[in-house]
């Protein structure tokens, strides 16, 4: 399943970059960073790792203030 997920991301990423008219290295860098970030989070979710909610920090902060 994990390998399938990586392959799917790789396929989408390569296909998208292949279709670009101009292949700017900065654009590829940002595109890759975002895609890899998403892949890591998806993989962690797939492996059942308990990831704390990214908004939990704001919640704690607001509740402590009120």
């Amino acid at each position: 399943m994990f390998i399938l997920l990586v392959l799917a991301y790789l396929l989408v990423g390569c296909a998208e970059v292949f279709l670009w008219e101009t292949k700017d290295i900065r654009k590829i860098g940002l595109f890759g960073t975002l895609l890899i970030g998403s892949l890591i989070l998806s993989a962690l979710m797939l492996l059942g790792v308990d990831i704390p909610s990214p908004t939990g920090f704001f919640e704690k902060l607001i509740l402590s203030l009120s």
């Binding site: 991301y9 990423g13 975002l34 970030g37 998403s38 989070l41 998806s42 979710m45 909610s53 990214p54």
Partner: protein
């Protein structure tokens, strides 16, 4: 970045559908109990000056979106940092809309389906729409607004047989305090969420268009919301309205005219799908546009795909359950969103007015 111009009518349609979006299905301002109708009207009144302020920013600096205006008002460095904070806000709001949609589908229909599936399908549709640009979204909204308005008002009319006017009494039994608190919550969700449009809109057909788009969109959206919410409380009662996760859907379920016109709840689902689609597309567009602007890229379309993937992942991670989702919408969101929707825009407006006056760049 290619300038995307939308007509006034398209702009109004987008704002209207955006306001209706999540607010149509989630119970908002429930603490005002039977006085919720008053809370909605107060919230509309409170939203008018705020949205006028958003329109004023566009009027002062035509051709610029929020990210450009932030850099103009606060300088390059602080402007970019604040821009990044707004990118997070748009991304977070988009994730919330996506999750609400997922929870709605799972709760009312596809109980056995993994939540990721409906979320991914909606996200892929939005990805496509955002890649096509704001003009396509404008045409879509213009076409579907009539459909949404007819469905919302039509279901409200059909519910008249289920209405119990005693659900609106007693009037102001707990005083004005819960009403004003509820009004503030309704102000931040959904009315001033329209701050997202300052990130998306930059070019208008006429100079006066921003005022018309924001204010007419707000008043129309607000009135439809007022009719819907009042109707829901009239049908369900304030207690059931407060405890239901999706009161709009629950109220429509009660339509039964001579055992012939019934099971119209699917209409509530379709309405939410359309308005949620517009709301999510706008959030995705704002996130991508903002990220591209802050990092100095000339186009935003190349990051739409990975941003959508990230948004889908975030929407799953953001809450552990529907209870947490509802608590966030009711308790945390108004405090969390207020600086983005009210604080920073006011400071930015003052900075821009001052800077323009000092530079003598005031518009005619």
């Amino acid at each position: 970045m290619k300038a995307e111009v939308i007509s006034e009518q398209q702009g109004i349609s987008i704002v209207l559908l955006f306001i209706l979006g999540n607010a149509l299905i989630i119970s908002i301002g429930a603490q005002a109990k039977s006085d919720i109708w008053l809370a909605v009207l107060i919230a509309i009144g409170m939203a008018i000056p705020v949205l006028t302020l958003y329109a004023r920013l566009h009027y002062l600096l035509p051709g610029m979106d929020l990210f450009d205006i932030l850099q103009y008002g606060f300088g390059s460095v602080i402007g970019r940092i604040t821009g990044l904070i707004y990118v997070w806000f748009a991304f977070h709001l988009g994730s919330r809309v996506l999750r609400n949609f997922g929870e709605f589908i799972i709760t009312v229909g596809l109980e056995e389906t993994p939540q990721l599936l409906p979320i991914s399908i909606l996200a892929i549709l939005c990805l496509w729409c955002v890649k096509e640009g704001l003009e396509v979204l404008g045409r879509f909204s213009n076409f579907f607004t009539r459909f949404v308005v007819i469905m919302v008002l039509g279901t409200s009319l059909l519910l008249l047989t289920e209405v119990d006017f005693s659900n609106l009494s007693p009037f102001l039994y707990h005083g004005m305090a819960p009403v004003t608190t509820a009004a503030f919550k309704i102000l931040t969700f959904p009315f001033t969420e329209t701050v997202i449009f300052t990130m998306v809109f930059s070019n208008f057909q006429k100079k006066s268009s921003p005022y018309k788009i924001y204010l007419i969109g707000l008043i129309l959206g607000g009135l439809i919301l007022f009719i819907t919410i009042t109707n829901e409380v009239l049908v369900l009662g304030s207690e059931l309205y407060e405890t239901s996760y999706f009161p709009g859907y629950r109220a429509v379920q009660r339509i039964n005219i001579r055992n012939f016109i019934q099971r119209l709840e699917i209409l509530a689902g379709v309405t939410f799908l359309i308005s949620g689609f517009v709301q999510l597309s706008i959030c995705l567009l704002a996130t991508c546009k903002g990220l591209a602007k802050v990092l100095n890229f000339d186009d935003y379309r190349f990051i739409v795909t990975p941003t959508t993937f990230l948004m889908v992942t975030m929407s799953i991670l953001i809450y552990n359950s529907i209870i947490e989702m509802n608590r966030w919408a009711v308790e945390i969101w108004p405090v969390y969103a207020a600086p983005f929707q009210l604080g920073i825009p006011v400071v930015l407006w003052l900075a821009c007015e001052l800077k323009m006056k000092l530079k003598g760049e005031y518009p005619a």
